[in-house]
């Protein structure tokens, strides 16, 4: 984890309400792994006391990308980033996706939760690991991928305007899989993740979920990004076995260890 001043390569709308920015940040990009995130200072005039965390949606040796929705002041400032502008980042942060060996990976991303899922998708592709990618959105205009039965890419929309209509979980009926030999990797809105978590527990499918919590630091010092865990195993960090920290113990947790998403 380091602080790096990156440089914006592009910053554009890729679908309705969805933006993508590419940043030259060789130190972070050469270290990060799919599932990790960065913590962003939206502008040098930023007066709020917290940075804004964003998952890494793509990485190569030199560059990283983020995919974001404009929801408030911070993301609005990020939306204003100009090409060539220097941007202040801390990263890579958090744990990363793992444990697909011996499983058939089912990747499920909804809303801006697609970012860390997409990065995993690229990684599995690069390793020629067969998997399924399901992306959920409210409507066609919010999708920026094409569905492709061949490549195992499925889309869902609330209104059925493209892909499978309804909840993202409906897409699980579109292809055959063995619950006991599959593992879900998911990120998205809390309600969506909670539905997937319950389904996974129900059907005994392995499932890892990337959570969002309000983060003051992103690297373990404020202890604010608490995630309540079910198992209270007494360990050295007894105080973190009940309340884990999303930024260093997570953001990725297993469905079984969470009380709720």
């Amino acid at each position: 984890m380091i602080r790096e001043i990156g440089q914006v390569v592009f910053n554009r709308e890729i679908a309705k309400h969805f933006f993508e920015a590419e940043i030259i940040a060789p130190l972070i990009s050469s270290k990060c792994k799919p599932g990790q995130f960065i913590n962003i200072l939206p502008s040098s005039h930023w007066k709020n006391v917290m940075r804004r965390p964003m998952s890494i949606s793509f990485q190569d040796d030199e560059k990283i990308r983020i995919i974001y929705k404009i929801v408030g002041e911070g993301t609005q400032l990020i939306g204003n980033w100009k090409v060539g502008e220097p941007v202040d980042l801390i990263g890579p942060l958090g744990n990363y996706w793992k444990g697909w060996e011996g499983y058939f990976p089912i990747l499920m991303g909804g809303g801006v939760g697609i970012a860390p899922i997409l990065n995993l998708h690229y990684y599995l592709n690069s390793q020629n690991i067969n998997h399924v990618l399901i992306m959920g959105a409210r409507t066609k205009a919010e999708h920026f991928l094409q569905p492709s039965q061949n490549e195992n890419i499925f889309l869902t929309t609330d209104d059925g305007s493209i892909g499978v209509k309804g909840w993202i979980t409906n897409a699980l009926n579109e292809f055959p899989f063995d619950p006991l030999k599959s593992k879900i990797f998911t990120c998205g809105p809390p309600l969506m993740m909670e539905a997937i978590r319950k389904l996974a527990l129900d059907k005994k499918i392995e499932c890892d979920l990337a959570l969002e919590r309000l983060m003051a630091c992103g690297f373990g010092i404020c202890q604010g990004c608490t995630v309540e865990k079910t198992n209270n195993e007494k360990g050295t960090h007894s105080y973190r076995s009940k309340f884990a920290l999303a930024c260093i113990d997570g953001p990725i947790f297993s469905s079984s260890e969470l009380v709720t998403c």
Binding site: V49, A216, F219, G220, Q223, H237, Y239, I248
Partner: protein, 304 residues
Amino acid sequence: MLNVKIKDIKFNNPLLTASGTFGYGDEVKSLTDLSKLGGIVTKSVTLEPREGNPPPRIYETTSGMLNSIGLANVGINTYCEQKLPFLNSLDTKIIINIAGSSLDEYVKVLEKLEESNGVHVGYEINISCPNVKKGGMQFGVDCSMTEQLTKRLREKTDKLLIMKLSPNVTSIQEIAKASENGGADAVSAINTLVGAGIDINTRKPVLNTTFGGLSGPAIKPIAIANILKISKVVSIPIIGIGGISNYKDVIEFILAGATMIQLGTINFSQPHRNEEILIQLKNWLNKNNISQIMDLKGAVECYS
């Protein structure tokens, strides 16, 4: 030019990190050079491990934040085993912050640390945490409790003894005097102000515990006022805390009467800020022909 002294302890510069905002240094060491700091004040440690308060524990406010971490920490035993060796290895001065629910608890924790092999230079006693039900702030609002606690701890240690004061009182001067009377080497101020917020959509408080502590630039004017007040009534050094985010703030606190300062909330978004501040402080002192930063201590020139 930047070095300062409290009792017999020399610090390279007046910048400390505030308890609970810098961990134990390990998490931050890849983001800033710890050896450049005047010192680190560690997260409050208590006798027993504490899991802290349930989520949500933090919330962003206008130019500030609320927190109700609730003194989550590993407890003094694990602390001595696992944290002290790392702290000992750091090339900076360590001040260990202690919290407790009773006089005895504070004393026991301090005793354990005195018996340990820690090379820390002193203790900061948190009598002002607004986020735990028992203890914490109940001491910090009561003069005789404060004096008694200070005395008992003083008997047990020759290391620096710093009492950390709460601004949530009618007269912080009295608590400061009680600390001085009890034998403290210094007081630090301020801890967070009691604050709260409500999510209008869910109707739930923004913190699980409803009330929390407000910190950040929003509270700086309140902190400065408290430093000015305390400096009128005590002669022991004051360590200024509250909303400091740049070198100008540091100078402002020193002019108000502080000998050292602590960086708190700023560490979350700018963990390297201390390094920038040191450079800017030196430049500013040079530009203004001031050879020692301590020449500025308490040098405010009030109108009347």
